[in-house]
């Protein structure tokens, strides 16, 4: 990498070499049988150069021909992409617990053992088909640049998930757990699956109208996708964020604190620096309902004249493309209600356990309209069944003004998010009941 950087500097004022190696192993069990095993071992390099304030870039899977890689980056300078930022200088990355070496010793038999254990624990407790999956991952990153930055990290973890399918459907109630080490699903999580599945067995019709909706962490991306869109420095720069000019204003209920925390203890997906080598830190984006900070990569920080926040990430395929403003480990701060208290407080409403279509609709405006997949109908504080063909819709800047309560517990529905349940009032529900 150093040699490549040296060659790149012959043609540039600044240069950066990014390296990523990623090993992923997965196993899936459906209906009691192992149905899929797969491994992926990929690595590659991305070169970014800046000459006279213009950006060039190129990528490769190997360093067999460094000269060709530099040449490709130089050719891309012809595009005239402006880069008015300076690559970061050297620093000592925070010491985080991002990887446990025990992951290196795992194999398919460990995954099969964990999944089998989950299946055995649920055996006889639910009538539906049980599917289970597990996997582990190791990711190594190194960023070196012409400003003497040289940082590297290894991250990774293990996950196991289980879902129980409602009869003759692919709709399910499930749980997933992420951990830095090999892990199973704790008994309390399995108990929750059994409880919610049993209460959702009967299919019911939902009424149409405004009512209370409890967003489960597995459906929370419906709301946070819109928040992320508005809080991105890119959206502000292009004038498409509803938060422009509102820093310091209360934009959501004061019960809501939305945080980026790449240093979250015990979480997988934490990182001491972003994919541009900028140090990461805990970043309250919305605190007690008040808009506090954008998140940004180097590019939009320079364009907006703000400090970089360590939020320049390259996405799933790290070596192609360029770092964009993104979040590594987002979440809501916990509240003070238990899940049972939240359900008990609902006269009539829906628990959105999963959402279909969170990615569609007018996201920049904050609008959402998602299918319940599934949704559990609550009447008089009790779950009475699973909704047939229902939707939940609204605008995030409207409905999140009416937060009744936030759960006192954090779930990890994905490797990059940690949410409690959130209970909202006056959310639009469309059902099939006349």
């Amino acid at each position: 990498m150093e040699k490549l950087l040296e060659m790149a500097m012959d043609a540039a004022d600044q240069a950066e070499v990014f390296f990523r190696a990623q090993n992923i192993t997965r196993l899936t069990m459906r209906n009691g049988s192992v149905t899929e095993t797969s491994t992926s071992m990929t690595s590659g390099y991305s070169l970014r150069i800046i000459r006279d304030g213009i950006l060039g870039s190129a990528c490769t899977r190997n360093l067999a021909d460094r000269r060709d890689l530099v040449s490709n980056a130089v050719v891309s300078l012809e595009g005239g992409v402006e880069a008015g930022y300076r690559l970061p200088g050297p620093h000592d990355p925070a010491s985080l617990d991002t990887f446990h070496p025990s992951i290196d010793g795992l194999g398919y038999t460990d995954l099969a053992e964990v999944c089998r254990s989950v299946l055995d624990s649920l055996k006889g407790r639910v009538a539906g088909q049980v599917d289970c999956s597990g996997g582990f991952e190791k990711k190594t990153t190194r960023v070196v640049n012409s400003n003497s930055l040289d940082v590297s990290s290894t991250a990774g973890g293990f996950y196991v998930g289980a879902q129980v399918l409602f009869p003759a459907t692919e709709t399910s109630i499930g749980q997933v757990r992420y951990s830095l080490d090999k892990c199973g699903l704790p008994s309390e999580r399995l108990d929750e699956i059994v409880e919610l599945y049993s209460r959702g067995l009967e299919e019911v019709e939902a009424p149409t109208g405004r009512m209370k909706v409890l967003f489960h962490p597995h459906a929370m991306n419906t709301l946070t996708w819109r928040l992320r869109s508005a809080l991105s420095a890119r959206s502000v720069y292009f004038g498409t964020s509803p938060l422009i000019g509102r820093k310091g204003e209360r934009v959501l209920s004061d019960r809501i604190t939305f945080v980026e925390d790449p240093h979250a203890a015990g979480a997988i997906g934490t990182t001491p620096f972003d994919d541009e080598g900028v140090p990461t830190r805990k970043l309250p984006l919305i605190r007690d309902g008040v808009f506090e900070s954008l998140y940004t990569n180097l590019d939009y920080a320079a364009r907006l004249g703000i400090e970089p926040t360590g939020s320049g990430f390259r996405g799933e395929d790290a070596i192609e493309g360029l770092p964009a403003a993104g979040l590594a480990q987002e979440g809501f701060e916990p509240g003070d209600m238990t899940f049972d208290e939240m359900v008990s407080s609902m006269d009539e409403g829906v628990i959105l356990m999963g959402a279909l279509g969170a990615h569609s609709g007018n996201i920049i405006n904050g609008d959402f309209s998602v299918g319940m997949n599934p949704g559990l109908l609550v009447r008089n504080g009790r779950i009475v069944g699973r909704v047939r063909d229902g939707m939940v819709a609204g605008n995030v800047w409207d409905v999140m003004q009416r937060v009744i309560g936030v759960e006192d517990r954090i779930h990890d529905p994905s490797s990059w998010a940690r949410y409690p349940c959130v209970l909202l009032d006056g959310v639009n529900v469309s059902g099939t009941k006349a």
Binding site: V34, S369, G371
Partner: protein, 454 residues
């Protein structure tokens, strides 16, 4: 390369093995508003191997040639784990051994067009959008993906096929005060550079729709009878029915397999569905899938009766049906899985105009804005729509999202018009992104759809 792949296969201790080496050349030019944000032309490559031993079957992906032996060892280990733990018993349906070289049929090879011309074309269309009233910004990209694939297996098949896809696509945003409305735009396909030339009318139309949406009212949530335009009908076909016709989706769910038995009457007599990636000039066209099987036309539904489904060799064997050539990967980073290419609802004999009096009161819903499916449940968004009263098209409405159940919706299709149109841009996500997902159909009349509104 094909000889080298053959040598790698000869060292594998398995009942069946295959390997795909692929070079992916991609050119991207992106604009955000008037600013050019990215120009990137690059090439990456890698290997995907699969092995079957006994009744186990597994895959591994590596990006370095020196790791190929390790990849085969891991695939064999995965297959052994499947078999040793009482996993699914995998067989592969027999297919002809093929040796072939396939070059794409292109009307203008984009690989021969200078990057400067690609930047200029994208900028010109972007300027058309930005020049229209109340357009605040755009996000427009040129995307060219060339997959050069070399495939070989231990049965003797050896194939070299190249696929080239181009698009100029993105989003245009209109703004008035605090209200933002966005509309998607896309031109392109798999038949070459010329599909991008002379398309100014498309960009003008999309900017106009974005502006008109600023005056549109949000649709009121409820249950409506609807007419879907070909884009929306295509998304319904793809999202609701198409994914369920992918055999791997239902393979391990016995109750769904029973429900989706061939011969089952699932839809109204008006419904015919076809998957046909052999159609020339279409985005979804290819000759061989990523396990070396020639793709063929599949009649999925006829007069509402299920008549076929899409298969890999493994699912074909599992269902006791014939392979269809639909086992496709996004690129060298992924193992192939069952995917749709071109899929559509067949046109009927009625005129488009005749559907509106039959609708009476309801919604006319146009142009897809994403969709998602989970088993028999689906949602999809529309970019805009119109209220229909007494068969007459009225005012524009926005924020339209629909949810439905596949089986009830298929039964509620009461009319298909005689027009027909297929999409120019794909992007289906099923763990991997399929940029060649290609869908469409005629205008379709459906009763009783749940609309979310906002």
């Amino acid at each position: 390369m094909r000889e080298r792949l053959g040598q790698m296969l000869s060292k594998v201790s398995a009942d069946f093995a295959d390997i795909r080496y692929e070079i992916r050349r991609q050119t991207v030019v992106s604009f955000g508003g008037r600013e050019i944000k990215q120009v990137n032309a690059g090439s990456t490559d890698g290997f995907v191997v699969r092995a079957r031993r006994g009744t186990g079957f597994s895959s591994a992906v590596v990006s370095r040639e020196e790791d190929v032996p390790r990849a085969f060892a891991l695939a064999v280990e995965g297959a052994d784990t499947m078999m040793g733990s009482g996993g699914r018993k995998v067989a592969l349906a027999p297919v002809p051994v093929v040796e072939d070289e396939v070059e794409p049929e292109l009307n203008g090879d984009p690989r021969l067009i200078p990057v400067s011309d690609k930047i200029a074309a994208t900028r010109a269309y972007n300027e058309i959008l930005l020049g229209q009233k109340e357009i605040a910004t755009t996000s427009i990209s040129y995307s060219e993906v060339c997959r050069e694939k070399f495939y070989a297996n231990t049965e003797g098949s050896s194939i070299h096929e190249t696929l080239v896809t181009v698009a100029i696509s993105g989003e245009v945003v209109a703004k008035r005060g605090g209200l933002l409305q966005n509309v998607r735009v896309a031109v392109g396909g798999a038949n070459g550079w010329e599909s991008l030339v002379g398309r100014e009318d498309v960009f003008l139309e999309r900017a106009g729709i974005a502006g008109r949406l600023l005056d549109a009212e949000p649709v009121r949530s409820g249950t409506y009878d609807v007419i879907l335009n070909p884009s929306m009908a295509g998304v319904f076909t793809h999202e609701a029915f198409g994914h369920f016709s992918e055999a791997d989706i239902i393979e391990d769910n016995p109750s769904m397999r029973a429900k989706m038995a061939l011969g089952a009457k699932l839809g109204s007599d008006a419904v015919g569905m076809v998957a046909d990636s052999t159609l020339p000039g279409q985005l979804g066209r290819y000759v061989y899938d990523d396990e070396g099987v020639a793709v063929r036309r599949v009649q999925l539904m006829k007069n509402g009766v299920l008549t076929g489904r899409l298969h890999s060799r493994a699912t074909a064997a599992s269902f006791g049906e014939l392979p269809t050539g639909h086992c496709v990967a996004e690129d060298y980073r992924y193992e192939p899985i069952v995917r749709m290419g071109t899929i559509f609802i067949e046109p009927g004999e009625d005129s488009v105009e005749s559907l509106f009096p039959r609708l009476g009161n309801g919604l006319y819903i146009l142009d897809a804005k994403g969709g998602q499916t989970s088993g028999e449940n689906f949602t999809f968004g529309a970019q805009y729509g119109f209220l229909v009263e007494g068969g007459s098209v009225g005012s524009m409405v926005r924020d339209i999202n629909i949810m439905g159940n596949l089986f009830s919706t298929l039964s509620n299709i009461s009319g298909t018009a005689s027009d027909f149109r297929l999409s120019e841009r794909g992007g289906c996500g099923k763990g991997q992104t399929n940029i060649k997902s290609n869908y469409g159909g005629p205008h379709v009349l459906i009763s009783g759809m749940v609309v979310g509104g906002v």
